[in-house]
């Protein structure tokens, strides 16, 4: 498909996300298209994106950024449509194909800052994703404060409720940021049966309540966010987003989600990279020359074509192994490579 646009020159202008691996500084990415009217939210006061240095995670995830096409053209279109429509992306595909990486790619290229990552396990609940409240901690703190307060009306303020409330990744993503945050909901298919329903509800509303704060006499509360060391102010216990976050939901594709969720999301199935992409990935991660890694690429490709489940990580590991110093090109080394490139589905 790439060739089809090759003649026309630059990719279509409607795209904001081009998957080229550029790195935009936080808040200074390309201007995002206006959301449709029905996806505009009135949360406030508007706050800027937190400028956090998240380079290391992104590096680890993406390799050193180069001008490389890492996604297929039609895949990029789907991502852009999702950005345009402010709909969540539901990303499926074989293990290791880069489903989670997509979120980092988007955040980096659009300059949206740190990716909020919400890893799902079977015990994950919606409220955990929104915020957690340490009631005991607060109670104990108040008790301690009271005990201390006996001696001196030291004027030390009573522990405030906000100090014991931490927003989760979803809760943080829905804060009224000026520009959308990128939220990665990782492996949603591991979740409890009820979660998709609950999640959908919150995402449709773009808002949630923190009853603990609503009950509080204080109209304002400063709470922790999911970003390390950051705090934000919540008014009257209600959080509503301003720019709807870019939500990337990944799934290993075997669990079926309820229809309402599926129809609210744009489906994106990533397939294993083509050879061209493999080369790009390998060279963006490692500096080995192509000659060294070609046999590995051949072997990997053949295995993929023979069926079976293989992840790009395996390839990277193998390449790393081969290109690292002291690799023996003998049977022992071959065995090691074999081991690294084994079929994951066979579970040995």
């Amino acid at each position: 498909m790439t060739e089809q646009y090759g003649a026309a020159g630059a990719p279509p202008a409607w795209r904001v996300f081009r998957a080229v691996g550029h790195r935009a500084p936080v808040g200074e990415g390309p201007r995002l298209p206006e959301p449709p009217r029905w996806r505009r939210f009135a949360g406030g006061p508007v706050q800027p994106l937190p400028d956090l240095d998240d380079t290391r995670t992104a590096e680890r995830r993406l390799g050193e950024a180069r001008d490389l096409v890492q996604l297929r053209d039609e895949e990029i279109d789907v991502v852009n449509a999702a950005i345009l429509l402010r709909r969540p992306l539901l990303v499926t595909g074989p293990p290791g194909v880069g489903k989670s990486t997509l979120a980092y790619l988007i955040a980096q290229e659009l300059g949206l800052g740190r990716v909020l990552q919400w890893g799902i396990v079977s015990r994950t609940t919606l409220s955990g994703g929104l915020y957690s409240y340490d009631a005991i901690g607060r109670a104990q703190a108040i008790a301690a404060w009271r005990a201390g307060a006996d001696g001196a009306q030291s004027g030390e303020p009573a522990p405030r409720m906000g100090d014991f409330l931490t927003l989760g990744p979803l809760g943080t993503a829905l804060l009224p940021y000026e520009q959308p945050r990128v939220l990665l909901i990782d492996e949603l298919d591991k979740c409890d049966v009820d979660l998709p329903h609950d999640l959908l509800h919150v995402m449709e509303n773009g808002a949630y309540d923190v009853p603990e704060l609503m009950r509080s006499a204080d109209p304002e509360a400063s709470v922790f966010t999911d970003d390390p060391g950051q705090r934000t102010t919540v008014l009257r216990g209600r959080v509503e987003c301003h720019a709807f976050p870019i939500v990337v939901i990944t799934s290993n594709g075997e669990r079926e989600f309820p229809l309402p969720l599926r129809r609210r999301c744009l489906p994106l199935e990533l397939r294993l990279p083509s050879r061209e992409q493999l080369v790009a990935i390998v060279s963006s991660h490692l500096h080995g020359s192509e000659d060294v890694v070609r046999p590995l690429l051949d072997q990997f490709e053949r295995r993929v074509q023979d069926g079976g489940t293989h992840s790009v990580d395996q390839l990277l590991n193998a390449v790393q192994l081969v290109t690292s110093g002291g690799f023996q090109h003998n049977s022992h080394g071959r065995k090691l490579v074999e081991l690294l490139l084994r079929d994951l589905a066979k579970g040995r």
Binding site: M1, Q4, P12, A13, W14, P36, W38, D73, E74, D77, V78, N80, A81, L84, L85, R87, L90, T92, T125, L126, S127, A135, I136, A139, Q140, A143, D189, C191, D192, V193, D194, D198, L200, H201, E204, S251, G253, E254, E256, F257, P258, L259, P260, R262, R263, C265, L266, P267, E269, R271, L272, S274, R302, R303, V304, Q305, D306, G307, T309, K346
Partner: protein, 1449 residues
């Protein structure tokens, strides 16, 4: 988040209709989103976008011209959306699509010159997609199990409580509350047998989906090996072994799913029983049978269908109720013998849903599922397909393969051919299947695995391999190109790369390719190469020879084909491959290596199928599940008899019937005839589609068995024996729906009776076992003699393994090698361990005692002696068991339902036995005791016990008269307490059928016990309803005679039985005798002290008899008396009153008083409706009568409407084949005719006639009445010849049955006369009419409508002869009578008027004629409608003919 699974209401707040209706249709936002996206798209100036595969273009004329490809899925389809990739042309194109990759026809040697290593000609089609696992979609089904309960281990903070307490006490101690968790965890026990590796993917998916369902706390998979010997062993992931009991969980919150293909022999052994009973005790347990249902009968685990009822949330299996799947299914095993039902699931959502429903459902939830009974599995037969085939003759391998091919599905056959070229490595197999035959599933691989082709322990180290010669034979079933294709596929396989490449090279160029290194460790590949080369023959065979030469170290023998090649190949085949051993020439010539095929080297003949004709290709299975019924359980101790079994096989191969008879010297039996038949059945069960065991000692048993078969064959006959049995015979004869059946008529003593039930001809086989040597006359006999001495010894040692051969020899000799005696002695020895010397001495003493009694020469002295030992021991140790045995000996030798004994808790027999009958535990111990000594045979599956007929003889000889009377009485009491309920309900018939032989054998008919008599009364009623009329009548007569002799005529049960007998006699033959019985019954009822309802019953039953005699007025008087009495005593709405009133309705009708009858019947029907509801048989019967009343009163159209609705109700509630339904059909036909729908009437009449004739024959009362209607309908339809033929017969039969002057006879006569008249034989018609008028006038009076109708016939006679004046005289005389009796608006009156007009017209009195005609036409139009034939006839000056419809008596 409470975590409670709940029914989610559609999200009320946010998205309104978006989530409210998830029907997949786009809502406003989907459309808005699309538009928004399109706008952005267009604004960016994108044009000419090729629409890759999005061309579904749901809105072709939508304003958005270029629908953006990624705006996909507003119409997300519920099944695929999230997984559907945005397709694009850059998806990998099939590599080598232009490389003729599928050109199977390409000559093999095309590229031979290119030498080895050339670019392959054939390429694999690439994988269609990353072949993801096919989802089983079980997760949703399993989710139903995910109910949550408070956890015992996981807790979470109870914030409210903590806060409350913290504020009050300031201690801030956290309070916890249990987390809510899924109730269950799941343990998947995966069978560990070799064949299960085929199913790895499926098993993994089951585990995955269970995990993904989120319904379980935990899902663990553990392998379990179930072997034929010893208990089941767990195999943990880390290699540890364990005991399944490690898995049990005291809380009962663990669900066990045992996943298996059921092929391991262990599933038919104790280990499996223990495993499953243990698990089922621990928690809800089910088996997942991976084989598809149609293959299961070939596995060791063959479930039967049963209806399981839930016992409440998470209850263990033993609490499930287990009943037959439908009323006529085989009876199920009794639940309390320790057997636990275990549902058998398929890896299919529906199956899992039903099971989840059972586990979580409240009592009342029922599902029909396949079930096995844990605890009885050991009685099953291990899968035959896993036995290593015996390759013992030249054609054995070919025969093995032919057998496989006969059974296998086409895909499995295809796969087998491919598998023949690869080593039996499961990874390879899986890959080959996915690539080469993607449409095949693991079940097809399993078919190959269970096809009896494989030697599962080929090298002694547990590695499977095709049995010797099987590869060659399989390869021989394909043709060259298939073979070459297979080799090419193989060389392209990922897993096989390397090893298979040389093979391909060798196939391409057999001459020049380097010979394989015979010393290499790749032994399997070498074997395959040889097989392939041999299959290809020609130069390939020579290469094979060279390789073999290399292996055996010798020099290559012959290089050219021709005669020499034969010995060459012979010597090198098969086991000779093992180079370490001496090269021993196998004695089998592989069929492919025939010398003549070596000529076929040219490419032109490359596609000739290598001819292999299966030597015994006698059957082709359709893959349908077979029907197998009533076969006694397999005898686990069956020994020897191979020659006889082969003889049976041979006989059946050549002839249709095999008769297994005892040798002339052993007339009493006990030589094991039935055992041979049973063993044959189990050994050959896979060769037949239907196997049915027909106990044939009594005719009623044959009827019951065949009627049951009718149900199982799916014949739509209803359960009545008299319709079902002919249907079965026809179905078997025609081979539809199943050909290839086997019937076993066991103990068929009455040759002629049994043979009458043989399906004549037909594509099936019959085995007869009998003591009657006269079978020799009609079938080639197979004589069963006593055991060979070796067989005796083998059986003895099998039962008692510690017996030395000499001891066994002495014992066998003393017992005369009689199989029954040998088995008895073996059981004795196993149970007692008595030293043989002592045993022999005891036996000898017994023998003398028996001979002292001077028994008849056929008396089986040796077995009697052996039995007597056991019986004596029993009498000492366990007198109750002994008495139980004696009771059973007085029953029939057919299986005795254990339920019969269980019902005995209210009877008093003896101080020893009573407690046993009252306590199920003691009872089970007693039956076990008997079984231990091999005195009875328990069939747990069917819940019966059975004893040998010889045993009954021996026991009977041992009983003195008093003891026998006592035991007989006990037997009768047990039978009476087992009484199932009313005999009219079809669902109880199977129970009655099971009891029937015992009722007959025990002589319960002659019992004087009122309870037993009451039971007998029910039995005869059952027989009547079931359709066994002969048996019913003879039993009723026997009972009545016996009871009358014992208790005299005044006994109420005698009177009741007399009335029943009268009913049967009236219906089937002898109305006079019935009359006498009714008279006596009425007389005794009036005189004796019988309850009033009995008297009333006697009265109206007498009235029936009188009606049969033709005394309608007397009957009416009697009925009136009965009704009056009943009304006085019981009130107008008592059933007894209504029965009498119904009878009165009939009497009134017979007297011609239709309006009165109508009034009575309306009231009766209304009361019945109130009492029993509108669909009850009694209500409907009254309505049926009411329709006749309405009709004969003149409202033809009203009657028609009423009867159509009554008939419809009959059909939907009783089925179209029920006798009552057919009767209603007969009346409906008359109603139709009278209402003018003559064609429909005739059709229905003919149909009814066929049904009654088939069912009861031509002499039966109901058939006669239908014939009478058919005479009329045929006349109206113009088929005069057949009308007359039937009419003459009908008159004759009526005369014979009812007498000359009975109203029915006369009606028949009138109808015949009308036909004769139509044929122009006016004289004959007149004769009949004159007689009819005369007799009618004499018997029912001149004002009876029938008399008047007959006179109208007379007028028609005159008119036909142009005697207008005479006709006018008759018509003018009849008309006022009709007007008076039937009313001026009655169609008969009007028709008479019309006819009179014709008379007058003939006489020239036109004016009066016109007037009368106008009146008649006008009246007929009013009451019958303008279309009615009578009205039309009146209009066009045609004579109207009349008929009389028969009235029910």
């Amino acid at each position: 988040m409470t975590g409670l699974p709940r029914e989610r209401a559609p999200d009320p707040s946010g998205s309104g209709e978006a989530t409210g209706v998830d029907d997949g249709a786009p809502d406003w936002r989907d459309l808005a989103d699309s538009a928004w996206l399109a706008a952005a798209w267009l604004a960016s100036g994108r044009h000419g976008l090729p629409e890759p595969q999005q061309a579904e273009a749901d809105h072709p004329d939508a304003p958005v011209e270029h629908r953006p490809p990624p705006a996909p899925d507003p119409q997300a389809r519920p099944d695929t959306p999230s997984s559907r990739p945005p397709l694009s042309p850059s998806a990998p194109l099939p590599r080598g699509a232009d490389e003729e990759s599928h050109d199977l026809g390409m000559p093999l040697f095309h590229h031979a010159s290119e030498g080895p290593g050339a670019e392959p000609v054939f390429r694999l089609p690439p994988l269609p997609a990353p072949a993801g696992p096919r989802p089983l979609r079980l997760a949703r089904a399993l989710r139903a199990l995910g109910r949550r309960v408070p956890s015992r281990t996981a807790h979470r903070l109870d914030e409210e409580r903590t806060a409350e307490h913290g504020l009050s006490d300031g201690l801030w101690i956290p309070y916890l509350r249990p987390e809510r968790q899924p109730t269950f965890d799941l343990v998947l026990l995966v069978d560990d047998t070799l064949t299960m590796r085929v199913w790895r993917g499926t098993v993994r998916r089951i585990a995955d989906e269970a995990t993904q369902s989120g319904a379980f706390r935990d899902v663990r998979t553990v392998r379990v090996s179930v072997t034929a010997a010893g208990p089941a062993v767990l195999r943990w992931q880390d290699g540890r072994t364990g005991d399944p009991r490690e898995l049990f969980d005291g809380s009962g919150r663990r669900i066990f799913l045992v996943v298996t293909d059921g092929l391991g022999a262990g599933w038919a052994a104790d280990g499996a029983d223990h495993l499953l009973t243990g698990l089922a005790r621990g928690g809800p347990t089910a088996l997942v049978h991976l084989l598809p249902p149609y293959l299961r009968h070939r596995s060791s685990l063959y479930p039967f269908r049963a209806q399981l009822g839930a016992a409440g949330f998470g209850r263990a299996n033993r609490e499930l109720t287990c009943g037959p799947a439908h009323p006529l299914a085989e009876p199920l095993p009794a639940p309390d013998d320790g057997a636990v039902p275990v549902p058998v699931l398929s890896a299919h959502p529906a199956s899992f849903t039903a099971w989840a429903d059972l586990v979580t459902g409240e009592p009342g939830v029922r599902h029909t599922l396949p079930v096995v009974l844990a605890g009885t599995l050991a009685k099953g037969a291990p899968a035959p397909g896993l036995r290593t085939p015996r390759i013992d003759g030249p054609h054995a391998a070919a025969a093995v393969v032919a057998r496989f091919l006969g059974l296998a599905s086409p895909l499995a056959r295809h796969l087998a051919l491919l598998l023949a070229v690869i080593p039996l490595d499961f990874d390879l197999i899986e890959e080959l299947r996915e690539r080469a035959v993607p449409e095949a599933g693991p079940d097809h691989v399993a078919e190959v695995m269970m096809g009896g082709l494989i030697d599962w322990d080929h090298d002694g180290a547990g590695h499977p391999e095709f049995a010797d010669g099987v590869r060659e034979s399989l390869l021989a079933t394909g043709n060259r190109s298939q073979l070459a294709h297979a080799v090419d596929l193989l060389a392209d396989l990922h897993t096989g790369r390397g090893a298979a490449a040389p093979l391909r090279a060798a196939v391409r160029d057999p001459e020049r390719t380097v010979l394989p290194d015979t010393a290499s460790p790749d032994r399997p590949w070498l074997r395959i190469e040889l097989a392939v080369l041999r299959a290809l023959s020609g130069p390939h065979a020579r290469r094979a020879a060279r390789i073999m030469a290399g292996i055996s170290g010798g020099t290559p023998v012959t290089r050219v084909g021709g005669p020499g090649a034969k010995s060459d190949i012979r010597g090198l085949h098969g086991e000779g491959l093992v180079p370490d051993s001496t090269t021993e020439p196998g004695d089998d010539v592989p069929p492919t290596a025939r010398p003549e095929t070596t000529e076929h080297t040219d490419a032109g003949k490359a596609d000739t199928t290598m001819d292999l004709k299966a030597p015994e290709h006698r059957f082709v299975r359709s893959g349908q599940p077979k029907i197998m019924g009533n076969v006694p359980p397999k005898n686990p101790n069956f020994t020897g008899r191979e020659i006889l079994l082969e003889a049976v096989e041979e006989q059946l191969r050549q002839k249709e019937t095999a008769a297994v008879l005892p040798h002339a010297l052993h007339g009493m039996g006990g030589v094991g005839k039935s055992q041979i038949a049973i063993e044959y059945v189990y050994r050959h069960s896979t060769e037949y589609n239907v196997i049915w065991w027909v106990p044939s000692e009594r005719e009623s048993l044959i009827l019951a068995s065949l009627a049951e078969l009718a149900g199982r064959l799916g014949l739509n006959t209803g359960p009545q024996a008299n319709t079902a049995v002919p249907a079965v015979q026809e179905a078997l004869r025609s081979g539809k729906p199943y050909e290839n059946w086997l019937l076993i008529f066991d103990n068929a003593e009455d040759i002629d009776a049994v043979r009458s039930y043989f399906p004549s001809g037909g594509p099936g086989k019959i085995i007869v076992t009998s003591r009657n040597r006269d079978w020799e006359r009609v079938a080639t006999p197979l004589s069963v003699d006593v055991f060979e001495r070796e067989e005796s010894i083998a059986l003895l040692q099998r039962r008692a393994p510690d017996l030395s051969s000499e001891d066994a020899f002495r014992l066998a000799k003393a017992l005369g090698d009689l199989p029954l005696a040998i088995e008895q002695a073996g059981a004795w020895h196993a149970a007692t361990g008595m030293p043989v010397a002592e045993h022999l001495e005891l036996l000898a003493r017994r023998r003398l005692e028996i001979l002292d009694l001077d028994p008849n020469p056929d008396y089986p002295v040796p077995v009697a002696a052996a039995w007597n030992l056991s019986l004596d021991r029993l009498a000492e140790d366990h007198p109750a068991a002994r008495q139980l045995l004696e009771i059973c000996s007085l029953m029939a030798p057919e299986p005795i339902p254990l339920n019969l004994l269980r019902g005995g808790r209210n009877v008093e027999i003896s101080p020893e036995l009573d407690p046993v009958l009252r306590d199920p535990v003691l009872l089970a111990r007693a039956t076990r005791e008997l079984s231990k000594f091999s005195l009875i045979r328990l069939d747990h599956k069917r819940g019966t016990l059975q004893m040998h007929r010889l045993m009954q003889n021996v026991l009977a000889t041992g009983l003195d008269e008093a003891a026998e009377a006592r035991m007989r009485k006990a037997a009768h009491q047990l039978l009476a307490t087992a009484k199932p309920g009313e005999g009219a309900s079809p669902e109880l018939w199977p129970t009655y059928q099971a009891l029937l032989p015992h009722v007959q054998a025990s002589g319960a008919v002659r019992s004087s016990d009122p309870w037993v008599r009451d039971f007998i009364y029910d039995v005869v009623y059952f027989l009547y309803y079931w359709g066994a009329h002969e048996t019913s009548m003879s039993m009723a007569r026997e009972a009545w005679t016996a009871w009358q002799a014992q208790s005299g005529d005044d006994d109420i049960l005698v009177i009741r039985m007399a009335k029943f007998l009268a009913l049967m006699l009236r219906k089937f033959g002898s109305p006079e005798e019935a009359m006498r019985l009714n008279e006596t019954a009425l007389e005794r009822s009036r005189a004796g002290h019988v309850p009033d309802e009995e008297l009333i019953g006697s009265m109206w039953q007498m009235a029936i008899a009188q009606r049969y005699r033709g005394d309608f007025d007397e009957a009416r008087a009697l009925d009136e008396e009965a009704v009056a009495m009943a009304r006085r005593l019981f009130g107008p709405d008592d059933p007894e009153t209504l029965h009498a009133a119904h009878s009165l309705g009939i009497s009134l009708r017979c007297c011609g008083a239709f309006p009165e009858a109508r009034a009575i019947d309306e009231e009766t029907a209304r009361q019945f409706d109130l009492l029993y509801g509108p669909t009850n048989g009694l209500t409907l019967n009254s309505l049926n009568g009411l329709a006749i009343d309405v009709r004969e009163s003149g409202d033809y159209r009203g009657a028609h409407i009423l009867q159509e609705s009554t008939y419809e109700t009959y059909v939907s509630n009783f089925g179209p084949d029920n006798a009552a339904t057919i009767k209603a059909a007969r009346e409906l036909a008359v109603c139709r005719r009278r209402a003018g729908a003559v064609a429909e009437a005739r059709e229905l009449t003919e149909d009814t006639l066929v049904r009654f004739t088939e069912r009861y024959g031509t002499e039966y009362g109901e058939t006669l009445a239908t014939q009478m209607n058919a005479v009329v309908d045929r006349r109206i339809g113009g088929d005069l010849a057949r009308s007359r033929e039937l009419g003459e017969k009908n008159v004759a039969r009526y005369r014979a049955v009812f007498g000359e002057n009975h109203a029915s006879t006369l009606s028949s006569l009138v109808n015949l006369a009308a036909t004769l008249r139509a044929q122009g034989e006016v004289d004959a018609a007149e004769r009949h009419d004159v007689e009819a008028v005369e007799q009618f006038t004499a018997t029912v009076g001149e004002r009876h409508p029938f008399t008047l109708t007959a006179r109208l016939g007379r007028a028609n006679d005159h008119y036909a002869r142009l005697g207008f004046a005479a006709a006018r005289a008759v018509d003018e005389a009849v008309l006022p009578l009709l007007t008076e009796v039937a009313g001026p608006e009655h169609p008969l009156t009007l028709a008479c008027t019309a006819n009179l007009a014709l008379d007058l017209r003939g006489l020239g009195e036109t004016a009066q004629a016109d007037q009368l005609q106008a009146d008649a036409v006008e009246g007929l139009t009013r009451v019958l409608g303008a279309e009615h034939p009578w009205r039309m006839a009146a209009q066009v000056h045609q004579r109207i003919e009349f008929d009389i419809a028969p009235l029910p008596l």
